[in-house]
Structures are given as C-alpha cells and as structure tokens.
C-alpha cells in the first residue's frame, strides 16, 4: 500500500498535465470567439499560470508523500520517477545543444 503511495508524485504530475491541457482547450474555445489576438494571449496566460500552480501542487505532493513514507521501496519508486522526468529533458537538451 505504501509503495503505491510513492507513485503519488507521478500520478499528480500526469493528472495536472491532463487538467492543464483540458483547461487550455476550454480557454482556446472560449477566447477564440473574440479573435486570434485575444486567444493567443489568453491561452498563454492560462497555460503559464497553470504551470505555476501545477509546480506548487507537485512540490507539495512530493513533500507530503515523503513525510508519510520514507521506506526503501517508496524511495526506489520515487528515484524511478526522477529518472522518468529527467531523462526525456536531458535527452532533448543534449541532442539539441544551444547554438
């Protein structure tokens, strides 16, 4: 049960991403009625604000999870989560170095 709890940060991240994309889709549909000039700004603001809130929620979920359970198995799951998050980012940045 505790090991399952260790998946919470990953689940939270996926859930937040899905929620954010849904929110942006709604913002796109609503602001699109006012024209593209309004849409592009509204969508960007909603997305960036959403990312900011998501980062706070994510940090809170990580802290809470580790406070409740710091067993070896849950730490292992979280290490895998770190790798899962960091590897695509590292690969992308290493494959396309800044010019």
């Amino acid at each position: 049960m505790k090991t399952i709890q260790a998946f919470q940060p990953l689940v939270a991240l996926i859930g937040l991403a899905a929620l954010l994309i849904a929110l942006v889709t709604v913002a796109q549909a609503v602001s699109g009625l006012a024209g593209f000039l309004v849409e592009r700004q509204v969508v960007l603001i909603v997305w960036l604000a959403g990312l900011l809130i998501a980062s706070v929620v994510f940090a809170w979920v990580v802290r809470r999870t580790l406070r409740r359970d710091a067993s070896r198995s849950s730490l292992l799951v979280m290490t895998l989560t770190v790798l899962g998050l960091a590897s695509p980012l590292a690969l992308m940045l290493l494959q396309h170095p800044a010019h």
Partner: protein, 332 residues
C-alpha cells in the same frame, strides 16, 4: 538509510518536476512567438506600376477568413485588359502581398504587363488580412484554395472582362510551399511556379528557431525547438509537423511545375529543392522544369535576375496555360 536518502531524492524529484514545467513554460512562450507576428503594412499598390487593379476580399476555403487582395487584369500587347489567364501569387511568411524583401509587387506587375492577370492576396495573419495563427502553409493552403474558388465562382470586380479560363499559381518561399500543398489538392490550378519552397517545415524550424532571439529569453536554446513545435499544436492547434510539401508534390502531375531555387540559399538549403524534385518527378506523367539560380540567396531569384526570371516564368505559363488572345482572337 531511508532517512539519509529522503531529502536528496525529494530535492531531485522537485527539481526535475520544476525543470520539466519550466521547460514547457519556455517552450510555450516560444510557440506563441512562432505562430504570431504583427502584420507589416502595405505601402505600394499596383497603381504605382501603372496597372489597373481592384481591391477584393477573398474568403478562404472551409474556414471563411476574409483575406484582402488585389485583382489585377493582365495587359495585352494591344493595351486591352484580360483575365483569361489568372495567376494566384502567394507571398512568403511574415510579409504581405507587396513583400519588398523579394520585390514581389514588381514581379506581380511584370506578370500583368505580360498578359497574365494576377490575384495577389495577404494570407491569414499577414498584411491586411485578419489575425490568425501562422502555420507554415498548413492552414494557409486554405487561403490559396479560397483564391481558386473566388476566381471560379466568386463575384469578380471587373465583370465585363469575364471569368478566367486558366488558373496558375506562383509562390515564393513559404508561399511556394503553401501553393504546392494547395495545388496537390486542387486540380483547377493548372500550372505551378514554386520559388524557394521548403520540403518539410519542421526540420527547417528546428534549425532556425535557435538562431532567433525572443524577448525575455534572448537566444533560444536548441533543445527547446522541438517542444516549441509541440506546444504550438497543443496551445494553438497549429500542426507545424504537417507542413510537408514533399509528401504531396507528386499529386501535381501531370500539370506542369517549375521549381526555382537559389544556389546560395542558406535559409532553405538546396537539399529541400532536391527532395522536392525527386518527389515531383516520381509519377511517369510528371512535367517538371527546374532552375537553380547561381549565386542567389533565399527568395532572391527575381531580385537578382529580373527580366530573365520574368521571361522564364511567362514562357512557362504560356506553355502550361496557353498564349493569351487579343481582342481579335489572334495569339498575342
């Protein structure tokens, strides 16, 4: 042991999560810059070249965006006006139907003075046309298709000249890519001149994005380019991965196609031209003519060669669409 590792793992987890979110945030900001640029004003008109023209509004196909354009009848050797053969002229990205950078208005005028009528318009999000996301031809092809519909069934501004019998297209840079995408779908475009088209937009953008500077961020790190393209799709519904004329160019056959490219093009490298030629000549019925213009950079072929460019293009359209007829019915 667990207690020892708890803090570093929590730190790493939060750091990697925050970095991912920051990466997405910056990518989305770049995506926003990719799909929009403030339109450039139009300063000159065909009247500056001594041509009669009419301002027209051309609805795009499917999404009915009202595009602003010029309807310019061709001038026959006897001075009479004609719309028998109309050329849809398509400008490049982040410019307009005047496009001073590649002398597009002058080229438009030269075509009209050689008996070819011209419908030149601002694609969506550019010039005087309504704001819309820029999509490297993927959405803009609807604008070209709208221009075809306008010429075939729309209310033409000079009705006494009748309706065009032949429709051709000439595009420059992204306009050329857009025209190739549209011509592949629309057989009413009977002859196509493509100058400096790209074969596939995504690699071009992935290479070009890091060369650009944007407000706040400055020079864009290369690793952000692919995700910026993805973000453009998520946030604005603009699929920049789908702007691939190389996939559809073969469908233009058996209609005649003239592909022009500058030998010294460092924006859309000559490899794009080679890919397009290879794909266009695949069908047995293909009628492809090519012209690599020496010592010429991106979209500068007309600017560098002037009369030679016009002669090649007019000869190509004469062969592809037929020679214009004078008022007496004799070939001009």
């Amino acid at each position: 042991m667990s207690m020892t590792w708890r803090r570093p793992i929590a730190g790493l987890l939060i750091l990697s999560g925050l970095l991912t979110l920051a990466y997405l945030g910056v990518s989305s900001y770049i995506a926003e810059q990719l799909v929009y640029e403030a339109p450039k004003p139009i300063v000159s008109t065909p009247a500056n070249l001594g041509l009669r023209f009419a301002n027209v509004t051309v609805p795009s196909r499917d999404d009915h965006i009202n595009l602003k354009g010029w309807f310019i009848p061709g001038v026959l050797p006897d001075g009479r006006l004609t719309v028998e053969r109309m050329i849809i002229v398509v400008h490049g990205t982040r410019t307009n139907r005047e496009s001073p950078g590649d002398h597009l208005l002058q080229l438009t005028g030269a075509l009209a003075h050689n008996g070819l009528g011209v419908l030149s318009f601002d694609m969506r999000g550019m010039g005087e046309s309504p704001p819309a996301p820029l999509s490297m031809g993927n959405l803009e092809q609807r604008d070209v298709l709208g221009a075809v519909d306008f010429l075939r069934t729309g209310t033409l501004p000079i009705p006494e000249l009748g309706r065009p019998r032949f429709i051709g297209g000439l595009g420059i840079s992204m306009g050329a890519a857009t025209l190739l995408l549209a011509a592949a779908r629309e057989p009413a475009i009977q002859a196509v001149v493509s100058d400096s088209a790209f074969a596939d937009a995504a690699p071009l953008l992935e290479r070009e994005i890091p060369k650009r500077k944007v407000a706040v961020i400055g020079q864009i790190p290369g690793g952000l380019a692919p995700s910026a393209l993805v973000m453009a799709r998520i946030l604005y519904g603009v699929d920049l991965f789908d702007a691939r004329p190389v996939d559809s160019i073969a469908r233009i056959a058996p209609r005649p196609l003239l592909l022009i490219h500058g030998a010294a093009d460092d924006y859309v490298p000559i490899s794009n031209f080679q890919q397009l030629v290879a794909a266009a000549t695949l069908p047995a019925t293909a009628r492809v003519t090519t012209w690599i213009v020496p010592n010429t950079r991106h979209a500068q072929a007309f600017k560098n060669t002037g009369a030679a460019y016009v002669a090649r293009v007019v000869t190509f359209f004469d062969a592809g669409l037929g020679v214009a007829r004078t008022s007496t019915g004799a070939a001009a």
